[in-house]
Symmetry: C2
Subunit: 347 residues, 2 copies
């Protein structure tokens, strides 16, 4: 088990559930726009938000953001140690720095001292794209180089009595990322922040993130995650929640099991499933229910048996199942409505 840190009220590591992060895209100096975005991220299921602090103009905004944000705020700082120190003065709940680019050991030590006083954890972010020269040796695999670079920085923190650390090792290579985290996981007990960096636009980024983050979470590696997309951060949160839901790590609402349309389906199953999704989104469901919407009798009853509730359509009818037993036969065109009705009774 990993050590435990707290980003504001959100525990990371220990026995805490895997948390979900995203990063704002609005100018941090514009606290109003940034807070609007943070509130939307919170509603979508984000747990921790990161904001970039690239200049002193951002600090005024940062103070207002921290004061009013519904989510704990992590300041992301590069190059300028003063910005990190002043962000701590703004009351941020976490810092993300790369100790290799913040102005040398003395400055890192100053930041650690102040963060320690304020009880603010720091993420050590190592990025394959910005490794120190000594780790760009060709005799080291890229994952091994990333891990050594991270452990150097961990050692520096420990030497300064600073232990409220989490670590990230990001690369745009899925395989490198997975290998690097596996190596690191065995060699330290600090919580890990997992993600694929520069993953790309919506589809490519979703696929790369789901593979990399998903493969690690399947092995129990990863305490907090971020899906990084060149897209609206709300999309990052949607994808992140789907990853956690697929692995039963966090969930609320409905897990939908629906079959691919094929020549066997006698109803327009894509339209039925979309109708179901749209109408189910408005149901007040507090626990997780597995709901199956199936287009034919081949997989339908079996998969429906695995679900809490489900419907399998045949040509003219829909058969509504609850935990594997047929409850009623309804006309196909009324299937979705009747399924929703029963679901409402269950929830």
């Amino acid at each position: 088990m990993k050590r435990e840190i707290f980003i504001g009220r959100v525990g990371v590591g220990g026995r805490h559930p895997v948390s979900l992060q995203s990063m704002t895209t609005t100018p941090t100096a514009d606290s109003r726009a940034t807070l609007t975005q943070i509130r939307a991220l919170a509603r979508a299921g984000c747990d921790i938000v990161r904001v970039a602090v690239p200049d002193t103009a951002s600090l005024v905004g940062l103070r207002a953001i921290v004061r009013r944000s519904p989510l704990p705020v992590v300041a992301d700082i590069h190059f300028d140690a003063e910005l990190a120190l002043r962000s701590l003065d703004c009351g941020v709940h976490g810092l993300r720095i790369n100790p290799g680019n913040i102005g040398g050991a003395k400055n890192v030590a100053r930041i650690l001292r102040l963060a320690n006083e304020r009880g603010v954890p720091i993420r050590i972010g190592v990025n394959a794209g910005s490794l120190e020269k000594k780790y760009r040796r060709t005799d080291l695999s890229r994952p091994e180089a990333m891990v050594r670079s991270a452990l150097d920085k961990v050692k520096f923190c420990e030497d300064h009595g600073f232990l409220a650390i989490k670590i990230s090792l990001k690369s745009s290579h899925v395989r490198h990322t997975v290998e690097a985290y596996r190596l690191l996981d065995r060699r330290c007990d600090y919580p890990l922040h997992v993600g694929i960096t520069e993953a790309g636009t919506f589809l490519q980024g979703t696929v790369k993130s789901a593979i990399g983050i998903g493969a690690l979470l399947l092995e129990g590696i990863g305490n907090t995650i971020r899906v990084s997309l060149t897209a609206d951060p709300l999309e990052e949160v949607r994808v992140g929640r789907e990853i956690l839901k697929a692995l039963q790590l966090r969930s609320n609402g409905i897990e939908l099991i629906s079959c691919p349309a094929c020549a066997r389906t006698s109803v327009d199953i894509i339209a039925r499933v979309q109708e179901f999704e749209a109408r189910a989104a408005r149901l007040p469901i507090r626990r997780t229910l597995r709901v199956a919407v199936m287009g034919c009798e081949v997989n339908g009853p079996g998969e429906a048996a695995d679900a809490d509730i489900g419907i399998a359509f045949s040509r003219n009818h829909g058969f509504i199942f609850e935990r594997g037993r047929i409850r009623e036969r309804v006309p196909a065109r009324e299937g979705v409505r009747r399924l929703l009705q029963r679901l409402k009774d269950m929830a």
Copy 2:
């Protein structure tokens, strides 16, 4: 290494690259519509296509489809052994049956005999939703039950001298699927067809498939894959190719590395990346190139160094890199155009 089979001209197992499958959604009886869909799937990068054969009316269509399809055709048959035998007469390149629901051992033996004569391989598809009663015991884990059910059927085929097998073990549970394939991979050397079944609508299905298929491919498990979505099968192929590309298993064209937008980016990076993607899609690129489009100077140069070519924007300029060296500084608004120009020269 797994044994090798051939679905038409496509090798599966052995040293063959991981192939990509999808399934038509048009009525198989309508050969014209089905062939139109198959041609679109082939253009999108599908390697093998499956069509459902639910009734005798489909057989006439099937014959025309097999004759004119640009892709090898697998007939998917349930319940009716006659349909399987007659599909073989139509010249299909593969069969997918569930030996547990095709009318008993005698019928399976008849199908195996004819498939053997025709040199047509068979996929044994075990689905968590339709396990035989004897494997629904509560003392067996679901993955173990799926594997035992599959190995029973493999044994039956072997006893009848039929070895041109591939196996699938599908469940809508990502964890069960991954565990089941891991167990099976150790216990037999037949090629494996990997997928998550009933994965759901586009986003949920993409995430579940990417995690499950991706985690297995990362371990070297899986010889042919299918992404199953309740969506247009062209989407299944797009997602499947992204999975293979993310793991460098199949690729052509451009692997795009792009940063998430954040408050540090001084240009509208989402718009730039989209502009780049749209225009790059028309470039005739034969080998794989890693291209970075980055919004700021923090990760930009480093990630660009990892790419074959890239651009990192600052406020007013774009810096074009080739294998880590700055090649030129261009005005920001001309950045994408100049990057494309250089890319064209490289390709």
